[in-house]
């Protein structure tokens, strides 16, 4: 159900800061691709360029092309339309505090005007099941506020919320970095299951996490993509010395 992403000559700026330089990257469909690299190397910026969230900052600028499936997301469509096809899960869970769990999960649909209650009920259940949260919250869907769950549960709910709009791509920006180890492993299991249905791009600081969940990995450094290959190769026999230095912990 997912589509592939083709990134060509992507450059990004924050004001005069040239954050991303000449990124070229084919992201395969229905696989999980991990992006690793030290802090500030631009991997978060890159992911935000894939759903045009980078543009929410008024001083941001982008050149180059990103094709998701058949469409160039910068030339062929508006940011709002793209974000309905490309879901995002953020570093810190950000449930809507004034909404119940039910309303949180289907917010992407309700806020866009969808109102068929029966279908919404089914979608909420399906998304929560896919996010491995259904059994924990199924009795409190409308009673509990989205913000009253634990950190790990909130993040899984945010994943459910992103899945409810049936995207083709799921972007995850360090989704487990704010969570405890138990929640982290639950989320990693989740990614493992989801990648057969969606194209997943996951930014992570944790190299072991990348090794566990992703088939392909890209290494970012100082705004450039240094190396992109199968995860196995990146971690056992990297072609670039900088990659090797990072993997072995010489810096970052």
């Amino acid at each position: 159900m997912g589509v592939g992403i083709e990134v060509t000559n992507l450059n990004a700026w924050y004001g005069t800061n040239h954050t991303l330089q000449d990124i070229n990257l084919p992201i395969p469909a229905n696989h999980a691709t991990a992006l690793i690299g030290p802090s500030g190397c631009g991997k978060s910026t890159f992911v935000r360029c894939l759903n045009r969230m980078h543009e929410t900052n008024p001083i941001a600028k982008v050149t180059g092309s990103v094709r998701i499936g058949e469409i160039d997301i910068y030339a062929d469509a508006s940011p709002v339309e793209i974000r309905r096809r490309v879901g995002m899960v953020f570093q810190r869970p950000n449930p809507f505090p004034t909404m119940s769990i039910y309303d949180n999960v289907c917010s992407g649909l309700k806020l866009n005007g969808y109102s068929n209650r029966k279908v919404l009920d089914e979608i909420v259940e399906r998304s929560l099941r896919n996010a491995a949260l259904w059994d924990e919250v199924k009795d409190d869907l409308r009673k509990k506020s989205g913000a009253s769950l634990s950190g790990g549960q909130q993040q899984r709910m945010c994943i459910a919320r992103a899945l409810a709009v049936d995207p083709e791509v799921l972007l995850m920006d360090e989704p487990a970095s704010a969570l405890d180890p138990v929640s982290t492993s639950k989320i990693e299991d989740l990614i493992f299951q989801l990648k057969t249905q969606y194209t997943i791009v996951i930014v992570t600081h944790n190299m072991q996490q990348a090794a566990r969940v992703a088939e392909k990995t890209g290494f970012f450094l100082n705004g450039r993509m240094v190396e992109f290959d199968s995860t196995h190769k990146i971690f056992t026999n990297p072609s670039d010395k900088r990659t090797e230095d990072y993997i072995t912990g010489r810096f970052g």
């Binding site: 759903n51 969230m53 929410t56 709002v80 339309e81 793209i82 974000r83 309905r84 096809r85 879901g87 995002m88 953020f90 810190r92 950000n94 449930p95 809507f96 505090p97 004034t98 917010s107 992407g108 806020l111 866009n112 506020s145 913000a147 009253s148 950190g151 945010c158 919320r161 992103a162 709009v165």
Partner: protein
């Protein structure tokens, strides 16, 4: 350690004495300030409570010289005036606040708007009354509740605008991002997510503005004018609580003085309620339950 010399010891004593004096003066100042406030409240409570009865809330003023009667028409009249004022002040204020927080942040235009709002807030209320007189009373050829409502509404705008802006800015950026990331249009995100999250604070900001203009008398002196009888007609003069208090306070009749105290107590109660609510909401924070 070297022995401290006589003169430096004296200087030290002088400095320490000065310190104590300063502390004493500040404490004295505080007492001098708190005392009249407590006195005012106590006096109000005492004089007002003894004059407050059911008649106050249900009857209209009796003719001069007769005892009894109440300020029911003034309370209702104030309600009407505040209703009109809210219809003007709240939409413009909240809308302006949304602009300042969500669209114009940091722009020169937004700074100019904020500055002008503060300036309007400092314009004496009687001047706003003159403007309303010129804008509404003169073309209509008579005094009206509408004119009074317009004057009060204008006065609400700066308070509502600034407090809405403040409350919206307190909504964390991550929540806006979550909405945008789902492909929710910006206008929908601002209304259904950001504004909704900030709504307790926005509502109490409106309440504060409401309570403040509820006590305003000057702009009503030659717009709403006041009315001895029941009237909710927007096209005619209307009674108002603070206006009635003023008229009774300067009258020579004891009965009317008593009514004035009762009215003042009601006004104060409303304001204390509003201020307390604002503080309560502020202390709870606007994100219930979120970490």
């Amino acid at each position: 350690m070297k022995a401290v010399s006589q003169s430096s010891r004296m200087h030290g004593a002088y400095r320490s004495g000065l310190d104590h004096l300063a502390t004493g003066l500040c404490v004295l100042a505080t007492i001098l300030v708190v005392a009249p406030l407590v006195a005012i409240f106590a006096y109000l409570l005492f004089k007002g409570a003894s004059s407050l009865n059911l008649d106050f809330f249900t009857k209209i003023p009796k003719p001069v010289g007769e005892s009894g009667g109440g300020m029911a028409n003034a309370i209702v009249g104030s309600g009407v005036l505040l209703g009109v004022a809210s219809l003007i002040g709240i939409p413009l204020g909240v809308g302006g606040g949304i602009y300042l927080a969500e669209f114009g942040r940091g722009t020169r235009l937004a700074n100019a708007v904020q500055f002008t709002a503060d300036v309007l807030n400092g314009v004496p209320s009687i001047i706003v009354g003159i403007a309303a007189y010129s804008l509404v009373v003169i073309p209509m050829h008579h005094f009206s509740a509408l004119a009074g409502g317009v004057a009060l509404g204008i006065m609400m705008i700066p308070t509502v605008m600034r407090s809405t802006e403040e409350m919206l800015l307190m909504v964390p950026h991550t929540i806006r991002e979550a909405a945008l990331g789902l492909g929710v249009p910006n206008w929908r995100s601002v209304l259904s997510i950001t504004l909704k999250t900030a709504s307790p604070g926005v509502i109490t900001g409106c309440m504060l503005a409401f309570a403040r203009v509820a006590g305003e008398t000057a702009p009503l002196l030659f717009t709403a004018l006041g009315n001895q009888f029941w009237s909710v007609n927007l096209n005619r003069e209307i009674a108002a609580l603070p206006l009635q208090i003023y008229i009774y306070a300067i009258s020579p009749y004891d009965d009317q003085h008593r009514l004035a105290w009762a009215g003042a107590l009601v006004l104060i109660a409303l304001i204390v309620l509003a201020v307390s609510l604002v503080r309560y909401v502020a202390s709870r924070g606007i994100l219930k339950g979120a970490s």
